[in-house]
């Protein structure tokens, strides 16, 4: 199912630019080229191809992500789409109102990274941790002890994270509206 594969590449990446899609395949190919790597769970065998790995990632993502995080991801995908459309328009149809293009584009990029930050804070916060966050902390491994504020970071509550998010978004959109002319 090639359609599923392409979504797998795009949506969890929620890439800001089309280049990331290319990187996904790079990652996957590199992962496939190092056979030791796939000591992972069930379906992933040692010599699985890039396609299989991507599919595996997609399945993992579907099963392990809580609903709220998926909504954030959908929002991020939407923002990435908007950003890409604006960028395409700029490339194809010229960048005449450059201020407007810039503020529109940076609004979507800025909102994207803010949402990504919110997602990180809420998934790492403890409650909504799927295999994603646990795997992340496990993978961090040796360097984890060095971060003094690892505990402090987990101390950020979901409400605080959301308030920060709103604060950041307000500033972002104020600047954008001011810049759009």
């Amino acid at each position: 199912m090639p359609s599923k594969r392409s979504t797998a590449a795009a949506s969890p990446a929620a890439s800001p630019s089309p280049s990331t899609t290319a990187t996904t395949t790079t990652t996957a190919a590199a992962a496939a080229s190092t056979p030791k790597l796939s000591s992972g769970p069930k379906t992933l065998s040692t010599n699985s191809s890039a396609f299989e790995i991507a599919q595996h990632v997609w399945q993992q993502y579907l099963t392990s992500t809580p609903q709220r995080t998926k909504m954030l991801d959908a929002f991020m995908g939407f923002l990435a789409l908007i950003g890409a459309v604006q960028f395409l328009y700029c490339v194809l149809a010229g960048n005449y109102p450059f201020n407007a293009f810039l503020s529109g584009f940076s609004a979507s990029v800025g909102q994207f990274v803010l949402t990504a930050s919110l997602r990180m804070q809420t998934t790492n916060g403890g409650s909504g941790s799927g295999s994603a966050s646990s795997g992340k902390t496990a993978a961090k491994g040796k360097s984890g002890g060095k971060f003094m504020n690892e505990s402090g970071e987990e101390g950020i509550s979901h409400e605080r994270a959301f308030a920060d998010f709103v604060f950041g978004s307000l500033i972002l959109h104020f600047f954008c509206i001011n810049f759009i002319n």
């Binding site: 800001p16 992972g40 930050s117 950041g168």
Partner: protein, 742 residues
């Protein structure tokens, strides 16, 4: 401010209010010391704006206060760069003016009527107090030792490297920019530590403020991405880093683009590309981390680094291609001159001609930083020992800033904060190690407070036990002596080197009393009173802002050196013969020409000493008409006396400087006290200009450009005709004089 350092301080079980109070009092005293040590110039001279650039800022502030913000934003200034004018509102960093405008209106609102000039004069000292506080916060993030923050604040408050740009009256962008620099870095460290959007957004806001205040914001723009990049390469990616960096970049870039002068630079200019590149990179890394959550593997670290290298290479290639194809503006000239110190001298004489762009002399480091400079490496070493994220920042900052400070004198300013941090860390470690448990001699009131507050700390830190009282006493006494010497040095440097307004000069009479030389203001006031409102004044660009500010007359060029050709035109007019210069003066509607001449007083910063720069800049545009070599004698000497090169003696600048000068002396005795040379007995003859005014000590000489002759003769002929009556007498006079000398 309920920040974590303050929190940490309040955590103690007993006497915590006392300690908190002490800290606040000490900080207040440091701020007071920082402010008061900058007031030398006000006390010694008066409340006056200093130097060159501050005069423009002052003029712009007055305009802002008078006409309101919107007309300031759209300000087209037709009184500078005649006949071009300057879109001032779009080509300045408005942060400084807006800050003082806001303060002015707040004070007015509180019904405190303060003159805008006093706000401008005292803005820099006031902000230096804030800088000391920001320094305290920044240093407290770096180390657990509570004394380090206070030490750093004290250092920052009085170190000459910072005072040099922030004495009362030096109303320049740096006055608020250093505070913003330090505070932005504090917020950045805070953001990296906490990984919250709020701190990142605050960093971005203060970064935006910084962008609006000083062109040096590029330093932050490159330093923060570099910090992130190094952390990434060290394998220290964390969501905190992603959150703080992306928030900072997305918001900060937008904020910086709000300033008209910066405009689209953040996406066009190569200076800003590293930040964009790191932004893309961290997205990739974050995505990789995200994927890693699903495919756990030991090889991932290697994969990640390969990916980083690959993408960095691709991005670098892309940058090179884009730069080469001209999509991205090339690096600005000032930036090139940072990497290649010889670059400016060859390609852009105008940048090289500015004295603050010269490379730093080695003694300047000691002069500006005193004993901090040798504590600095020790502090950096301490950072290496701990090496958390924030210590990496200190290390990168210190390496970069040391290099830049070596390249350009004015960038000493960016080095100073990090030197203060590092030195404070080093010194506080020494104090903690040696003084901690002793009730014995204490270095200073400040450190006594620190060590008393350290009493509880000793149980917690792994402090190396120094028990011998002899070594304790020795170290304590030597530290105390160094600190006292530092204070004495700072006070001395501030009062002697950095407190001169340079608009008003001071000298000492033989009996020790002070003698004020006020020629600049005298001459500018003469211009203001005796010339028509729209008389165009030509002078070398150094004096453009002062003429605009003090004399309120249009100028041809000023210190905002945006148009090299126009400056070169002035340079050509100054360095050519009268016959060449006069048409240039006429074409530019020049009414008066102003030169600065220090020969009588021995004032070395005069135009004859700057003359070679005029020649060089003019030569850059008209290499056929002006040649630097012609202004030297056959033996390559730069002389003004009998043996001066013909081009030199015929140049307008030479003629204006020495016009009638020989009449002050006995025949043949005319001396130039700056160059220490005897001038020719016969003074230069001016035919197209006439002397209009010469100030008391001859520092400023103003010449009026003659109108075209009534009878259509050339000026030379007219003057010759006027002299014609006297020619016989002149020859007669000449005869005996020759005899007399023989």
């Amino acid at each position: 401010m309920a920040d974590s350092p303050v929190d940490a301080l309040l955590k103690g079980s007993s006497g915590r209010t006392t300690r908190g109070m002490l800290r606040i009092i000490i900080l207040a005293i440091i701020a007071a010391a920082a402010v008061s040590s900058r007031l030398f110039s006000v006390i010694r001279f008066e409340s006056i704006i200093h130097e060159f650039d501050p005069w423009f800022n002052f003029r712009a502030t007055k305009y802002l206060v008078q006409h309101g913000f919107h007309s300031f934003w759209d300000w087209f200034d037709d009184r500078t760069w005649h006949p071009l004018g300057r879109v001032t509102g779009g080509t300045l960093y408005p942060g400084l003016m807006v800050t003082s405008g806001v303060i002015y209106h707040i004070l007015r609102f509180l019904t405190i009527p303060v003159d805008i000039r006093n706000i401008c004069v005292l803005l820099a000292p006031a902000f230096s107090g804030l800088t000391a506080f920001a320094m305290y916060l920044l240093t407290c993030e770096m180390t657990v030792s509570p004394s380090a923050g206070l030490l750093a604040a004290a250092f920052m408050g009085i170190t000459p490297g910072y005072i040099s740009r922030s004495v009362a009256g030096s109303y320049d962008n740096e006055a608020i920019a250093i505070f913003l620099l330090v505070f932005t870095f504090y917020l950045w460290i805070k953001a990296v530590k906490n990984g919250s959007i709020m701190w990142g957004a605050l960093t971005a806001l203060f970064y935006g403020y910084m962008v609006s205040a000083w062109g040096g914001y590029v330093f932050i723009t490159n330093l923060i991405p570099l910090h992130v990049f190094v952390l990434l390469c060290m394998g220290r990616y964390s969501p905190r880093l992603y959150i703080s960096y992306t928030t900072w970049y997305a918001l900060g870039t937008l904020a910086s683009m709000q300033i008209p002068f910066v405009g689209f630079l953040p996406i066009r200019n190569s200076d800003h590309m590293s930040a964009l590149g790191i932004f893309g990179l961290i997205q990739l890394v974050a995505f990789a981390e995200f994927v890693r959550g699903f495919i756990p593997g030991k090889q991932f670290q290697r994969l990640l680094t390969t990916m980083i290298i690959l993408v960095a290479a691709v991005a670098f290639l892309g940058l090179v291609v884009l730069s080469a194809s001209g999509v991205i503006a090339p690096w600005s000239g000032r930036f090139y001159s940072l990497w290649d110190t010889g670059y400016a001298k060859i390609h852009i004489p105008i940048i090289a001609s500015v004295s603050e762009h010269q490379p730093t002399a080695w003694p300047a480091f000691f002069f500006d930083l005193n004993f901090l400079i040798w504590l600095f490496p020790a502090g950096v070493y301490m950072c290496f020992r701990e090496l958390h994220d924030e210590h990496v920042f200190v290390i990168i900052y210190s390496v970069l800033a040391s290099y830049f400070a070596g390249v350009m004198v004015r960038l000493m300013l960016t080095l100073t904060p990090i030197v203060c941090v590092a030195a404070a860390v080093a010194l506080s470690t020494i104090i903690d190690t040696y003084v901690l448990t002793t009730p014995g001699p204490l270095p200073r009131a400040k450190s006594s407070a620190e060590s008393s507050s350290d009493g509880l700390r000793s149980t917690r830190g792994a402090v190396v036990g120094i028990t011998s009282y002899v070594s304790k006493a020795m170290i304590t006494v030597s530290v105390a002596i160094y600190l006292l010497l530092f204070v004495a040095h700072c006070t001395w440097v501030t009062s002697n080197a950095y407190s001169s307004p340079s608009v008003v000069l001071a000298s000492r009479l033989p009996d020790g009393s002070q003698f004020i030389i006020d020629d600049y203001r005298e001459a500018y006031y003469w211009l203001r009173q005796n010339t028509p409102e729209n008389a165009k004044i030509m002078s070398w660009w150094d004096y453009g802002y002062q003429i605009g500010g003090m004399a309120d007359r249009p100028t041809l060029v000023d210190n905002n050196t945006w148009n090299n050709t126009h400056i070169a035109t002035v340079g050509k007019a100054m360095s050519s013969r009268e016959e060449v210069s006069y048409p240039i003066l006429r074409q530019h509607d020049v009414d008066y020409v102003l030169v600065v001449f220090g020969g009588l007083l021995g004032y070395s910063g005069d135009d004859i000493n700057k003359f070679l720069w005029m020649v060089r800049i003019a030569e850059g545009i008209w290499p056929d008409e002006v040649k630097e070599r012609d202004y030297f004698t056959a033996r390559g000497e730069y002389r003004v006396d009998d043996e001066a090169a013909p081009a030199m003696r015929n140049s307008l600048m030479y003629k204006m400087s020495y016009h009638n000068y020989h009449n002050l002396f006995q025949p043949g005795q005319a001396m130039d006290r700056v160059r220490g040379s005897r001038l020719p007995a016969e003074g230069p003859q001016l035919s197209t200009l006439e002397e209009a005014y010469t100030s008391e000590n001859w520092i400023i000489r103003i010449y009026k450009v003659k109108d075209l002759d009534n009878l259509g003769r050339s000026h030379n002929n007219a003057v010759a005709f006027d002299r014609g009556q006297k020619r016989k007498r002149a020859t007669k006079r000449k005869g005996p004089r020759v005899l007399r000398t023989e």
